[in-house]
């Protein structure tokens, strides 16, 4: 097995792929999961614990006239019914969002989306809490809703956020990046310009475990313990301190095993706050776990971007510029979970993997009467939308130029010698070597043979499509000077302690939702210190147990926390050198490192292993001045740049000409995430993301009717791929390490979710070429594909 390494790895990184620390390793977390001994939120039972349930609005836009809780309160098992009015008295009716807006915890003035939180019942058991919801009588005064984002800025459109003083319309922001004039000049002079509206519909991460919390407020010492399904426990603690006024040192956020997150568990939801209020009011622990409909209808959706794309090129296929204007539907509150200073996330990576002369985009965010959210579902802060746009546009250009879409991409890639590459929207791509990845995917697919097969099938009237996409992500935020969440810089901490017998514990600030942190981070320490991964425990998720950091989302765990862990291990290694020198009665500079031990240069038999040094540190050896008696260290890692994973994907579909049904026959994914820590886990991350892609491309949409009723409020309507809809994935890889990351790793968590939807849609549009179809929007359900074949392709509702 050889790997493509055009860029030399960081010398300190060792040899990527060498199976000492790095390499395929069974996961340390699996033994508990396969025995049913995971500890998820709903598994937590505290003495005297009560159960909360939320009454939700049945309508999308209505003034709240009255709430009568008398009957509910009379229920023998009900201990409290909390309404917006009660929260107003506590100054908790509104809470700040991660995007500098506010969101209602419970409705006080009017309902702004169907499923919004109206009242909270606390009862002795979950069945009684649900029963009591039926006993609450609410009167609404209906208002006309704004459902279609295209109508949100119409003159006279109902103003959704009349709670914000002085607001007269539904515009949240206008944001632009790139040089508009320069881009216009390039477009004006270009041989070929193509334009297409590209819609990325509203979808939902829908992890198998819904969101929930168990709040336990101790009135004696004012301490709040909050078990939460959160991907970002430290950021949550700080926000609760600010919002609820509980001193930060009195708050413990503990995120247990998480049953999938995908960005769904980054934000702070009203249910979490209500569990806290419920515990304060009743003096007992309160559990709240949402049901599936609540999850789909009220927690963070993803995407919902209407993108007007334009691409300019020479007639021989040199891409010159990309331009887009975007209408972004943010729902009723601007609660996107992303760096606060970037209202469209990292959408500005829409320049893709191509060497462009110019690029420009403008994004307008609007309020609608729909659930808030927008940044979730493994989107890398809107890289998903950016990659989908540019990869659809490149395909549309290929069709216009009658060029092969793979050849067009190969012709326009940023060349290896151009890295680090400064694109036209302000990113500096750290490293890349695109052509080998593209060529490998084509080789694996048997690209030429597939094209021949397609021609033969077309002659027989069969619809076969081959779709190509090539993506470049930008992940791993910070640097903290550029990226923060409500002022908290996007850095992560790590603490490492080597115990006297050479076993170690590393504490990290990010939180796994299934990515295998307990294994991957142990492998990084193992690689750096030369002690086996099974001797290293990884502690995460509990703010009382771990150093501060911003958490797991945007594929940032390995790029940021992975850097922190490598550096803290090196700090320990450096310290070990001084202690080993004292033990060997020599000078530190006379020692040489080999994996796991310091030894005397020229005398390899005279050395001390990390375990021996750890015992020495805690033992009786006289230590040099400035070296204290332990083998511990801590760091906070502020990455100097983001990382830029990339990949080449090829999808083969067969479309049933009679029904419009799409079958994904093959999917070939070549990923380059830099240095590979655990290939098994990496492959698993890719497989999962590819399945997301099939879901979004073929099935998934959060749809609404004209009155704002959510039409996708259960798994009967929100369809997710099963084993029957996805092929056996074919994966490959190249290795182009990040030059600035301590171990050269770039992150892999979201690559496939980002890269696969355009490959699938490109394949479908390719299959439908005989029908003259040049574009269709997701989801490509049989009915929608069939309509496209009749020349009636339309945007999704």
């Amino acid at each position: 097995m050889t790997t493509v390494q055009e860029h030399a790895p960081n010398p300190a990184a060792g040899d990527p792929g060498r199976p000492i620390g790095f390499g395929r390793l069974q996961r340390k977390e699996d033994p508990r999961f396969v025995r049913g001994k995971g500890n998820y939120l709903d598994d937590i039972v505290l003495p005297g614990m009560l159960h909360g349930a939320i009454l939700r609005a049945p309508v999308a836009h209505a003034r709240l006239v009255s709430i009568d809780t008398t009957e509910a309160l009379a229920h023998p098992k009900v201990l409290a019914v909390i309404t917006g009015k009660d929260l107003q008295a506590l100054n908790l009716a509104w809470a700040p969002t991660l995007s500098a807006d506010v969101q209602a915890v419970l409705v006080t003035d009017k309902v702004r989306f169907q499923g919004q939180e109206v009242a909270f019942v606390v009862a002795e058991d979950r069945y009684a809490a649900r029963d009591a919801l039926e006993l609450i009588d609410v009167e609404y005064d209906m208002l006309p809703p704004v459902i279609d984002a295209r109508r949100a800025l119409d003159p006279g459109a109902p103003v959704i956020r009349d709670d914000i003083e002085g607001r007269t319309d539904n515009r949240i922001f206008d944001w632009e990046i790139g040089d508009a004039a320069e881009t216009e000049a390039v477009f004006a002079a270009a041989d070929v310009v193509v334009a297409q509206e590209v819609v990325y519909p509203r979808v939902h991460p829908a992890p198998m475990e819904t969101c929930g919390a168990v709040a336990d407020f101790d009135p004696v010492d004012g301490r709040l313990t909050l078990y939460e399904t959160t991907q970002a426990p430290h950021a949550h603690r700080t926000l609760y301190a600010i919002v609820a006024g509980i001193p930060e040192h009195k708050i413990r956020i503990a995120s247990p095993d998480i049953g999938g997150g995908f960005g769904n568990k980054v934000g702070i939801y009203p249910g979490y706050v209500l569990a806290v209020v419920g515990s304060i009011v009743t003096g007992k622990p309160v559990k709240w776990v949402e049901d599936r409909s609540e999850n789909l209808m009220s927690t963070s959706f993803a995407r919902d971007y209407i993108m007007q794309g334009e691409i300019a090129a020479t007639k021989d296929g040199k891409i010159l510029a990309v331009r887009t204007s975007v209408l972004a539907d943010h729902g009723a509150f601007n609660a996107t979970a992303q760096p606060t200073k970037t209202p469209a996330g990292f959408f500005s990576i829409f320049t893709g993997s191509y060497d462009l002369k110019a690029a420009y985009c403008k994004v307008t965010g609007v309020y609608t009467n729909k659930a808030p959210g927008g940044v979730a579902y493994a989107c890398s802060f809107r890289v998903t939308e950016a990659v989908y746009l540019v990869e659809r546009m490149v395909d549309i250009l290929a069709r216009k130029l009658e060029m092969d879409p793979a050849e067009l991409r190969l012709k326009n890639f940023i060349k290896p010698e151009q890295f680090p590459y400064a694109n036209k929207t302000g990113w500096v791509y750290d490293s890349g070597n695109y052509e080998p990845a593209m060529r490998l995917s084509m080789k694996m697919a048997g690209y030429e043979d597939l094209r021949r097969e397609q021609l033969e099938k077309r002659e027989r009237g069969e619809l076969m499509g081959i779709g190509v996409s090539f993506f470049t992500e930008t992940v791993g935020a910070g640097p903290r000077k550029h990226f923060d969440i409500v002022g908290l810089g996007m850095a992560d901490g790590a603490e490492l302690r080597v115990h006297p017998t050479g076993k170690a514990v590393v504490r990290i600030s990010v939180q796994s939702q299934g990515q295998g942190h307990e294994t991957t981070f142990a492998q990084i320490v193992a690689e750096e210190l030369g002690i086996p991964p099974e001797s290293i425990d990884v502690v995460h998720g509990d703010t009382d147990q771990t150093p501060f950091g911003l958490g797991t989302y945007g594929s940032r765990s390995t790029p940021v926390s992975g850097g922190a862990v490598a550096l803290v291990a090196r700090k320990v290694r450096d310290k070990a050198r001084f202690i080993a020198a004292a033990m060997l009665e020599t000078r530190p500079e006379d020692l040489e490192w080999e994996k796991g031990r310091w030894f005397v240069k020229g005398d390899p038999s005279a050395g001390k292993t990390i375990a021996e040094i750890a015992f020495g540190a805690h033992g009786t050896v006289a230590l040099p001045e400035g070296i204290d008696g332990n083998l511990d260290a801590e760091v906070t890692y502020d990455p100097p740049n983001l990382t830029f994973p990339f990949g080449a994907y090829i999808c083969v579909v067969d479309v049933d000409a009679g029904t419009g049904h799409v079958k994904v026959r093959r999917f070939i994914a070549v990923d380059d995430c830099g240095t590979r820590i655990n290939p098994m886990i990496i492959e698993g991350q890719v497989h999962g993301g590819l399945t997301d892609g099939v879901g979004m491309a073929l099935m998934e949409i959060i749809a609404f009717d004209e009155e704002g009723n959510c039409l996708s409020g259960s798994f009967m309507d929100y369809l997710i791929p099963t084993a029957m809809e996805v092929p056996d994935w074919e994966t490959g890889f190249t290795v182009t390490p990040s030059p600035h990351h301590p171990i050269g790793a770039k992150g892999i968590g979201e690559s496939a979710t980002v890269g696969s939807p355009p490959a699938i849609v490109n394949a479908i549009v390719d299959a439908l070429m005989p029908y003259g179809v040049t574009h269709m929007d997701m989801p490509c359900t049989p009915a929608r594909v069939w309509e496209a074949m009749q020349g009636r392709a339309r945007p999704p509702v």
Partner: protein, 174 residues
């Protein structure tokens, strides 16, 4: 009302409300939290348990309907401290990530292998098609079940060094 059933070989009897779902009975009355809940509508299958050897979605079965029946949950997969080959297979082939759907997937796999010890990939996919995994993309679940089929006595019984065997993964590089 009173219900009695056998759960993982033990006879249990509890006084419950007639409306209590089997999933809540298992989780809350018996404290066996390895069985999960995910959707309310029988679509996701995280709540699958075996009733008389057949997979059922315990969110759509009343505890009362299980009266007199034999229930097996994930906690009953390992026998005498030895993991079921299916459990071993999921660890060997990375058939799980967040672990939430895993108990249901493993129980369905166990039921499949009990009636068809050598399923092909399509039969495995068919067997788990009523269950959703949001993490793995299913291919590694299929491999995990195939591992179990190939090791009916498990790794230890056959003297395999766990983890030392070559993976069935076929990743390609340039």
């Amino acid at each position: 009302m009173q219900v009695s059933m056998t759960v993982n070989g033990d006879k249990v009897t509890r006084e419950i409300e007639p409306r209590v779902l089997l999933v809540h009975f298992i989780r809350e009355n018996l404290g066996l939290t390895g069985t999960h809940w995910g959707c309310d509508t029988s679509n996701c299958g995280t709540c699958v348990v075996l009733m008389d050897g057949q997979p059922v979605k315990s969110c759509t079965v009343l505890a009362a309907m299980a009266d007199g029946h034999d229930i097996r949950t994930v906690e009953g997969l390992a026998v005498g401290g030895t993991l079921d080959p299916v459990q071993q297979g999921f660890m060997e082939e990375h058939g799980l990530q967040c672990g939430f759907c895993t108990p249901g997937m493993m129980l369905t796999a166990r039921a499949l292998l009990d009636r068809n010890p050598h399923p092909d990939d399509a039969e495995i996919r068919q067997a788990i098609s009523g269950q959703i995994c949001r993490c793995t993309g299913y291919a590694t679940i299929v491999r995990s079940v195939q591992w179990a089929a190939a090791h009916p006595l498990g790794a230890q019984a056959e003297g395999d060094a766990a983890g030392a065997e070559e993976s069935t993964s076929e990743e390609v590089t340039a």
